[in-house]
């Protein structure tokens, strides 16, 4: 029975999944509820959707939410301008009197009309205003929406797997939260981080890995940093170190941190960290 639906998702090629999250993803898929992910930037919220799509072999549709976005933009678009243009020049193959030819599906619309089950990633939902969020959940709850211009209802052929991410800038509304499952992805601990690095750099020497991870977590502990370096920065940093022919392990062990700019993106942060490092070396 339904049992078969379970435990299908076990992680993907380049994604280290903890058991807890896997469980939650599977339950959400079984209950057919959207999964809301919160967490620090760089904890892999967005990557999770890629990983699910990859491991289940489903196409991934990404809706990048913008602050100015209206719900209708995510559902469909009625291309009035092209129609006007066609009616004027009549050199296209489209039939001007048929409005449906000028309806283009938005991201949610695409997920609904797709012939196969898709993974729908709604990225950074917190950017949009509350009305957008609530209205969207209505659509996702009912799995259908109307196209006003042609008086047609689009219902989902397959219920997509819905992943929603939020950077927790704002709290989401209660009705919204009520309709989602929730998970907060904590920043990975050293153990997990080693695994993640291992996946990205299979041939990295253990000493370098140790030194990098140790340095990295040391740097994260510094107080007053505006944007702490995350997984993405660490991976880029290691990449930079590997690419540098002059890099020696002893440098790191002495407390030197080359390529600070890869880890820190804001100038006050850079200054603060630079000071802290030179102090600790003395």
């Amino acid at each position: 029975m339904v049992q078969n639906n379970f435990s299908r998702f076990r992680g993907a090629n380049k994604y280290i999944l903890d058991d807890e999250l896997a469980e939650i993803v599977n339950v959400s898929m079984a209950l057919e509820m959207p999964l809301l992910l919160k967490g620090e930037p760089g904890t892999g919220k967005t990557m999770l959707a890629y990983a699910i799509a990859e491991s289940l072999g489903m196409p991934l549709i990404i809706l990048n939410v913008k602050s100015s976005m209206k719900l209708v933009d995510a559902l469909y678009q009625y291309d009035t301008l092209t129609r006007l243009n066609d009616s004027r020049f009549s050199d296209s193959s489209r039939e001007v009197s048929n409005i449906e030819e000028y309806i283009k599906m938005g991201k949610i619309g695409q997920a609904f009309v797709s012939d196969v089950k898709t993974v729908l990633l709604i990225d950074e939902i917190d950017k949009a205003d509350t009305d957008f969020q609530d209205d969207m959940l209505d659509v996702l709850d009912q799995m259908e929406f109307d196209i006003m211009e042609v008086d047609k209802t689009i219902s989902a052929k397959n219920r997509p797997v819905i992943i929603i991410t939020s950077n927790a800038k704002k709290d989401l509304s209660d009705p919204f939260l009520g309709r989602c499952n929730f998970h907060h992805i904590a920043f990975p601990g050293e153990e997990t981080m080693r695994k993640i690095i291992g996946v990205h750099f299979p041939d990295l020497k253990k000493e370098i890995m140790d030194a990098c991870v140790k340095n990295f977590y040391g740097l994260r502990k510094l107080e007053g940093i505006e944007k702490k370096p995350a997984t993405r920065e660490l991976i880029n940093w290691i990449r930079a170190l590997k690419a540098d022919p002059d890099f020696k392990l002893s440098l790191l062990e002495q407390g030197n941190v080359p390529y600070l700019g890869v880890l820190y993106k804001k100038s006050p942060d850079m200054k603060l960290v630079g000071n802290a490092i030179s102090r600790s070396r003395r």
């Binding site: 009035t80 704002k170 709290d171 499952n181 904590a186």
Partner: protein, 397 residues
């Protein structure tokens, strides 16, 4: 056993809804939960909707499931649960029906009494059916992680520890970060604030102006010419100044939290500052009033159209307001009395209001309130007061 778990969560202030509880039952029916470890994770994802509560959840979970003999839920709890479920049903029948796995229409045919009985039976059902769960709690050894996996301090999220001893004030600084504390659902407040908007054209010219397009096209004798406009967007700037210190504000914390939460959702361009009792030379951007301060005199650089909303009880010792060096904190060198700073704000910005959580009747009894009232239009922090404040902020003078 799960019913009492549900109640423990509610009692400790985690806003769990009956619908989500039923969803949890549904997940069990589907066979999603095979071990205590599983249950821990799934229940959290379904019931707890903010990482703020994860810590409490862990504590309750550990307390609840750590090998204790679990009593059957008593009648009162079941009745309570039924009541809650009825409430939920009235609000959102579809969701409840869905969670119970029955058709909404079937439930609608029932009389209220029948419905109540039905819910009660269903809840009993659920709890009895899952009494079996006791067993897998007992044989915890088979679960891969075991109880020890859930220690109360299990997961810690966010949270910055403030080093209190570092503060230089002589008095104990009791701060509250209004943004961090629990959720509030007084949606009327949001409704009242919604009127506070200023729509101005902004962004790229990407909206077709139909009227102008038709007009131009007619003028061109039918040759289509499309006219674009900028979209209207809310560009209202709001500065919220909150009194978050002192015992006198403590009773109003929930109310101010509500205001703060809604303001944060509502306004694109909102800056919040904190002060204690009254405003001297500077205000603080962090709730602890310690790290991030801004000089009031720098406010003159801001757009004079900015709306200033001050929240505070305006009651303090008169000298705090009137005298030089009136600040109750050490090391805060003062040049001018606070009242002048307030006057400066009122003159710089055309639209200022003071929201006072104290009721209007009390205002006259506090001397400082009366003085501040003469500087800023003062409104009660109630729905009516808020309405008045909003219309004052939107007036065109």
């Amino acid at each position: 056993m799960f019913v009492s778990f549900f109640y423990s969560l509610r009692d400790r202030g985690i806003p769990v809804t009956p619908t989500s509880f039923l969803r949890l039952q549904q997940a069990m029916r589907l066979g999603a939960i095979r071990s205590l470890n599983n249950f821990y994770v799934v229940a959290r994802a379904l019931l707890v909707k903010s990482e703020r509560y994860f810590d409490i959840y862990d504590q309750i979970f550990a307390h609840h499931f750590e090998g204790v003999e679990l009593p059957d839920p008593d009648e009162i709890e079941l009745n309570e649960m039924t009541k809650l479920l009825l409430d939920e049903w009235l609000k959102n029948p579809e969701a409840v029906a869905d969670a119970l796995g029955v058709k909404e229409e079937d439930l609608q045919k029932l009389t209220p009494e029948e419905l109540e009985q039905y819910f009660l039976d269903r809840i009993k059902d659920q709890t009895e059916a899952h009494q079996g769960g006791k067993k897998w709690i007992g044989t915890g050894g088979t679960s891969p992680v075991g109880h020890s996996g859930f220690h109360p301090g299990g997961m810690r999220v966010g949270g910055v520890s403030h080093n209190k001893s570092a503060t230089k004030v002589a008095l104990d600084r009791r701060y509250r970060d209004y943004s961090q504390e629990g959720p509030l659902t007084q949606s009327q407040m949001g409704e009242a604030l919604k009127k506070l908007r200023r729509m101005v054209p902004a962004g790229p010219m990407d909206m077709v102006n139909v009227d102008k397009t038709i007009y131009k096209t007619m003028k061109n004798a039918g040759d289509v010419e499309i006219i674009f406009d900028r979209r209207l967007a809310d560009r209202l700037k709001v500065i919220l100044l909150i009194d978050n210190g002192g015992w006198s504000m403590d009773p109003y914390i929930p109310m101010v939290q509500t205001l703060f939460n809604y303001a944060r959702n509502q306004f694109k361009d909102l800056k919040t500052y904190f002060f204690h009792n009254t405003i001297y030379d500077r205000v603080w951007a962090d709730a602890a009033r310690y790290r991030n301060s801004e000089m009031i005199t720098d406010f003159i650089k801001k757009d004079p159209d900015t709306r200033i909303v001050i929240v505070g009880d305006a009651s303090m010792a008169p000298y705090e307001l009137m005298y030089e060096g009136g600040s109750i904190y050490f090391g805060e060198k003062k040049r001018k009395p606070s009242i002048e700073t307030l006057q400066f704000l009122a003159q710089t910005f055309h639209h200022c209001v003071w929201l006072n959580p104290n009721s209007k009747r009390a205002w006259e009894h506090t001397w400082t309130t009366d003085v501040i009232r003469k500087v800023f239009p003062m409104f009660e922090l109630t729905l009516d007061g808020l309405d008045g404040a909003v219309s004052h902020l939107m007036s065109k003078n």
